[in-house]
Each structure stands twice: as structure tokens, then as C-alpha cells.
Amino acid sequence: MTSNQQNWPTLLCNNARSGGQVPQPWRAPRRVRWQIRLEGAVRGSPILDGELLYVPSLAGFLNAINIRTGRLQWKFKATAAIHSTPSLSLGQVLFGCDDGKVIAIDAASGTKCWEMASEDEVWTSPVIQDRTAFFGSADGNLYAVGTEAGAQQWKQMLGGRIYSTGHVVKGRIFVGCGDGNIYGMDAATGQVLWKTETGNGIDCSPALANDTVFIGSQDFVFYALDAGCGTVRWRYEAELGITSAPAISGELIVFGCKAGTLHALHIRTGKAIWKSRIGQTIMAPPVISGSVVWIQAGDTFAVNLFDGRVLWKANLGNSVQSAPVVTEDVVYLASMEGEIYALE
């Protein structure tokens, strides 16, 4: 069966973190097209380009799986575990490693193009825009490097460790930090334009819409901030800390909290539209596709976008961090122990 695939080159499909937003009627997966066991556990999310699905593993491999056959096309061995979700740019796959390196691999052949080193682990996903890759490191720096050779353009030291993947738009980058601050920065220079304090550290990745930055904190609060100055527009209190990056669809913003609850809020007011207790804990970002929210929260769930009702669930390997790739006819997802599934 020919896959009607779309590309999914970075975390949650694109830099807008739209999750693809494929307009399609809901139907539950009917069968497993293929599955493959990788070497090592998986925490990051797969990405897709053409016929290759790229999956990082804690055994230190970046794996390229042919989606037609379900077989490994190549794998690249890095020098440390890979928690980072890769990103694609101009024929290269970029990802961070636990030894602080960011590595660029030729997407077709799996050979290394370049690498650069930060001082501590890089779990964030490189965000690529205009031939520049932006990523945060546990060393506390946010880096901007050229995607052609990895040359550093700037780095900016923030107040804590960085496990939040930045959001880049209109010359600005927004990122959360372990010091509890949300930062708005100039993407060309790294200059901090504003910062807004929350009540605890942040490992959630922001989303942006209507000139508003949306992000959760380990202080249990979900924030909507003015992207221009960082002023809090509204805040919403969840039951526990929030690591899950939000997904946006129309007037709804959806995220999970560690109590296992999925929350859907009105994007302008922060009022709860629905909340749905689905798993033991939620750390992964939801992916919205049509009228369905896909999320891995121990089991894998498909939830109705408009009322939070669980439409379908399957026990597929206990992942609580990885996000699926949702195409028109296949959902690709990774289990915690390294099993990769193509569901159709």
C-alpha cells in the first residue's frame, strides 16, 4: 500500500508546532503496518522526510527507517545518548546529544556533516530558520549556529539549564528555562528583550499565536504572555507541573499536565473548555490532527478535540515523552523501550 505521506521535518511537524493539522475525518487505526525494535530506549520524537522516518535512541543512534518496508536503512552512532528530537534542514538532520554535541548528518546517507559542542547535554530539539539552528543546552546557554558548517553565530547565557525547545518567529525566539523564567530574545543577536518569572523551573516548550506566547511551568501554571513585552495576559492553574508543550487549533490550546490530565483552554481567555483525565502522567506534547488529539501518556490515546472524549487507545509501550508523526493514513510512534510502530 502506498503511503500518502507528508513531511514532518521537526518537532510537532513545523516551526509553528501545528502538528500537521491534517483535515481528515476520524477513523481508528485498524492494524499495524509494520513495527521494528531499535537498539536502546526512545525519549525523543520521530520526524519524517519522504520515505525516511528518523528516530533517535538513548543507545546513541540516529536511526533512519524506510517507511515503505519498515526496515532500517541506516543508523548513525553518536558519542552519547540522544534525547533530542531531530530537525531537518536542506538535506541534513540535526540533533543534540547527552555529551553536549549537536551533530548534523546527511539525511540520505547517514554520514556526519559537522558537529559543534556545548558544555552540557542537549535534550532540546534544534529549531531551524533561515540557515540558522537555535538550541538550548543544560550548560545554560542558548546557541545560534549556522546550518552549513555549525559555526557559532552567538550564544546567550540564561539563568538556568535549558530543556525547553525554543519557538522562533519574526526575528524573535521565546524559550523557557530551569531558572523559572520565560525569555523573549532577539534571534539575530541573542539579546534578552524581556523575561517573565514563574514559580518554578520550566522544561516545557512554548507555542505562539496571536502575538501571545503559551507555555507551562513546574509551578503548575500555564501562562499566556504578550510576545512583545512578556506581560502575563492570563494564567491557568493545573493540578501538577506542566512539561507537555501546547498544541493550538483555532480557538483551542491543548496541553497535558503531570497529573495525567489533558486540558483544552480558550486561546484568548484561558477559560477551560474541557479537561480529560487520560493517563497516569502526561509529559509529551499533544498532536492535533483534524478533530483528534493524539498523545502518548503511557498508553497511546486519540481524544476528541472538541470535548476531550477518548476515541481510541492502545497499550503501545509506555512512552510518556515522545510525540507521534500523524500523516493522512499512517501514525508513526515510538515506545519507551524502542519499539517503533506504523499504524494504519
Binding site: 536502546g40 530506549a41 530551569g178 523551573g201 507541573g241 512539561t243 495525567g260 510518556v320 515523552q321 523501550e337
Partner: protein, 388 residues
């Protein structure tokens, strides 16, 4: 080739350690609980025994600092636990100058492991706020951030606690193993061996981090009921968080956590390196431990206990959990009622009268008999400090 020498010792007292309690247990009389098999230990010969080794500098002393403001709306207050921990360290050591209190246990050249308990994350795990204050204390003794390691057995449980993002820059955060079957982080020469239930792997190996990765350990357990061990506190967090393959010690409804927990804590170099215990009692799980996420069984106790004697701290912890269970109308953790047993997880996590095992809280006293500390209540110096 590994040139270290190792020696095997047999804990033939495995049964004897438990017998005084089991002899009075109805379940034992009714032959409901099988006898403890022999437990053999392989440990390095000639390990330099530290004068700080458990029960440490202050045997029998438990400092309990309580402050109701330490937890509000399920959030731990960094400022309040800072004050609690500082006061606890001063009371324990009788040092007025804080960095001198920390320097009784930690020297600048040490590599310090902070052994947390993330197994109940996110609902109840070692609070990052307390871990951050411990890091500050260790740094005040002259240890650089790069020589401080926050660790536990399962990396994925640490991920759920978000410790990586929440500790200061430079501090390392490491899980000993990634999955249930990953043994790469363990020393094949240091182990506890016993055949409890006919399992195919009868050994539990000590983590390399403990053997050679750190020179001192600060143990940060939580205050929790445990379905197999009775409670999980200093001893269980240390023993079962250092050795692998420990689930095999309990098979429903039986549990050999008594005496295995204490025996594991007695193995060098673990015993010498664990110099300080700081129990996070901001939350108390009084039923459903160690993994429950049911907030009905999680109580904001608002306290921290500090000491060098894990047996004494766990004895006080057991007393507190027993008192809370009694107040809530739940059976004692000492109860041996076959009617309370269930194999239904939903029942266990919703009903405080149900349990998977005959709990074994006597593991604390058994550890005391191994010389790890004081379990006789009247010999424990329990210093209580109420801040607010």
C-alpha cells in the same frame, strides 16, 4: 582484568533477623509466610571502612523539623524548606555555622551522590526544592557543582520528576539504568545472592555509581507506605536503589524485603559512603506506596527529618505512618490478615484496607541488628523543632 579481591559472606542470620517478629505473627503460625532462604553477599576485600559509615556520627539521633508552610496547595516552598534544612543541619551537628555543619560529612575533594526517590513521581517524589537546598549545602562545603551527582535507579522515573531542568547548572543528573533489563550500570563482583521464589537470576548487583562514581552519598528518601516493605524510607531507598533486580524479593503475597533491605545496606562500600539522610516528609503517602498517584492517600505532613542513622529515622517514619493509618481507619502495616490481600490493582489503589503483600516493616529492626542503627524507640533521641 579486575584486580580487586572479593569475599563472600553468608547472612545465615537472614531467618534469625526476622524470627523474633515472625514468631509472634499469626501468618507465621499458620504457615502463611515461607522461611527466609540463605542470603550470600559478595563484597570487596579491604574496603576502607569510613568512620562516617552508617549509623554515622550521630547514632540514634533524629532531628525532625516541621513547618506547615512548607507545602501549600501541593507545592513545596523553596524558602521554607531552606529554613527547615538549615535548622535541621544545625540541630543535628550542634554547629552554629552552617557550612561547618555540612563539612562534618563532606570535604571539598568529595564527589557527592544525592540519592533521590523519584519512584512515585509526579505525585510524591523527592522534592526538587529540597534537592536544590542540599546542593547549596554541599557547595558550601567546597564541592564544585560538577562533582555533585543527583541519581536514582531508573532514568525514566527521574525524567518524570523533571530533575534535569530543575537543578543548578553543572550538577549531573543520572539514572543507573534505562530499562528493566539494563545491567550495564552494575558491578558484576559485588552482589547479594538468594533464591527467593525460584527466579532464574538470583543475584542483585551493586551500581557502579556507588562503587566508584561517588565518594559520599546523601540519601533523600520520601515518607511512604510500601505495599511489600511496610514503609519505604532511608533503608529501602538506599538498598533497593543501589542494587538491581530487587523486585524479585516480593511475590504476592510474600515479601523478603525483611531482611534483604538491611543486608543490602550493610554491603560495602555503600555502608561507608552513605553519610547523611534527609527524609522529605513534606508529603506523606500513608497508603498505596510506593507508586500511588491517588491524592486521597497523600497527606501534606510538612516535615523534614535529618540524621545519620537510617534505622532511627525509619523507626520514626514508621510510627508516623502507623499513626496516620490508624487515624484514617486503615489497618496497621503490621497486620497479617489474609482477607486484606488482593491481586486487583484498582482495589489496592482505591482502598486503604487492601494490599498485595503481607507487609514487612520489621525490616527496620532487622537492619538495626546488622549494626546500621538504633530501632529501639526509647533509645532514639528524637529532637522536634516546630517552626510554624
Amino acid at each position: 582484568m579486575d584486580r580487586r579481591a572479593f569475599v563472600k559472606r553468608s547472612c545465615l542470620g537472614g531467618l534469625a533477623l526476622s524470627l523474633d517478629h515472625w514468631g509472634t505473627s499469626p501468618a507465621f503460625d499458620q504457615d502463611l509466610i515461607p522461611p527466609v532462604p540463605p542470603i550470600h553477599v559478595s563484597e570487596p576485600v579491604g574496603t576502607q571502612v569510613s568512620p562516617l559509615r552508617m549509623p554515622g556520627l550521630y547514632p540514634g539521633r533524629v532531628v525532625e523539623i516541621s513547618d506547615a508552610r512548607s507545602i501549600a496547595a501541593n507545592r513545596v516552598s523553596q524558602a521554607v524548606v531552606r529554613e527547615m534544612l538549615e535548622q535541621g543541619m544545625r540541630e543535628l551537628t550542634e554547629e552554629k555555622v552552617l557550612h561547618r555543619a555540612w563539612s562534618k560529612f563532606i570535604q571539598p575533594q568529595d564527589v557527592v551522590g544525592i540519592k533521590i526517590n523519584p519512584s512515585g513521581a509526579p505525585a510524591c517524589c523527592s522534592s526538587p526544592e529540597i534537592v536544590r537546598e542540599i546542593i547549596t549545602g554541599v557547595q558550601s562545603a567546597g564541592v564544585p557543582a560538577r562533582n555533585i551527582l543527583v541519581y536514582d535507579r531508573y532514568a525514566y522515573e527521574m525524567d518524570i520528576g523533571s530533575y534535569q531542568a530543575l537543578v543548578p547548572k553543572g550538577v549531573r543528573v543520572t539514572g543507573i539504568q534505562e530499562g528493566k533489563l539494563d545491567t550495564s550500570g552494575y558491578d558484576p563482583n559485588i552482589f547479594c545472592e538468594a533464591n527467593f521464589f525460584g527466579e532464574w537470576e538470583t543475584r542483585s548487583y551493586m551500581a557502579n555509581i556507588v562503587v566508584s562514581g561517588v565518594t559520599k552519598i546523601i540519601n533523600v528518601p520520601t515518607m511512604k507506605d510500601h505495599s511489600a516493605a511496610g514503609v519505604t524510607g532511608c533503608l529501602k531507598n538506599l538498598g533497593y536503589g543501589t542494587f538491581n533486580n530487587v523486585d524479585r524479593s516480593h511475590r504476592r503475597p510474600f515479601s523478603f524485603t525483611d531482611p534483604l533491605i538491611g543486608i543490602m545496606c550493610s554491603v560495602e562500600p555503600l555502608r561507608s559512603k552513605a553519610v547523611l539522610h534527609i527524609m522529605d516528609g513534606t508529603r506523606m503517602v500513608w497508603h498505596g506506596g510506593p507508586l500511588t498517584q491517588n491524592q486521597n492517600f497523600i497527606f501534606p505532613a510538612g516535615l523534614i527529618m535529618v540524621g545519620t542513622d537510617p534505622v532511627a529515622i525509619d523507626t520514626i517514619e514508621l510510627e508516623k505512618i502507623e499513626a496516620k493509618r490508624s487515624k484514617e481507619g486503615a489497618p496497621s502495616v503490621w497486620a497479617r490478615d489474609p482477607q486484606s490481600l488482593t491481586s486487583d490493582s484498582a482495589a489496592f489503589y482505591q482502598d486503604a484496607a487492601k494490599n498485595f503483600f503481607y507487609r514487612q516493616p520489621h525490616h527496620i529492626a532487622a537492619a538495626g541488628k546488622l549494626g546500621l542503627g538504633v530501632s529501639e524507640r526509647k533509645l532514639i533521641e528524637h529532637k522536634l523543632v516546630h517552626i510554624s
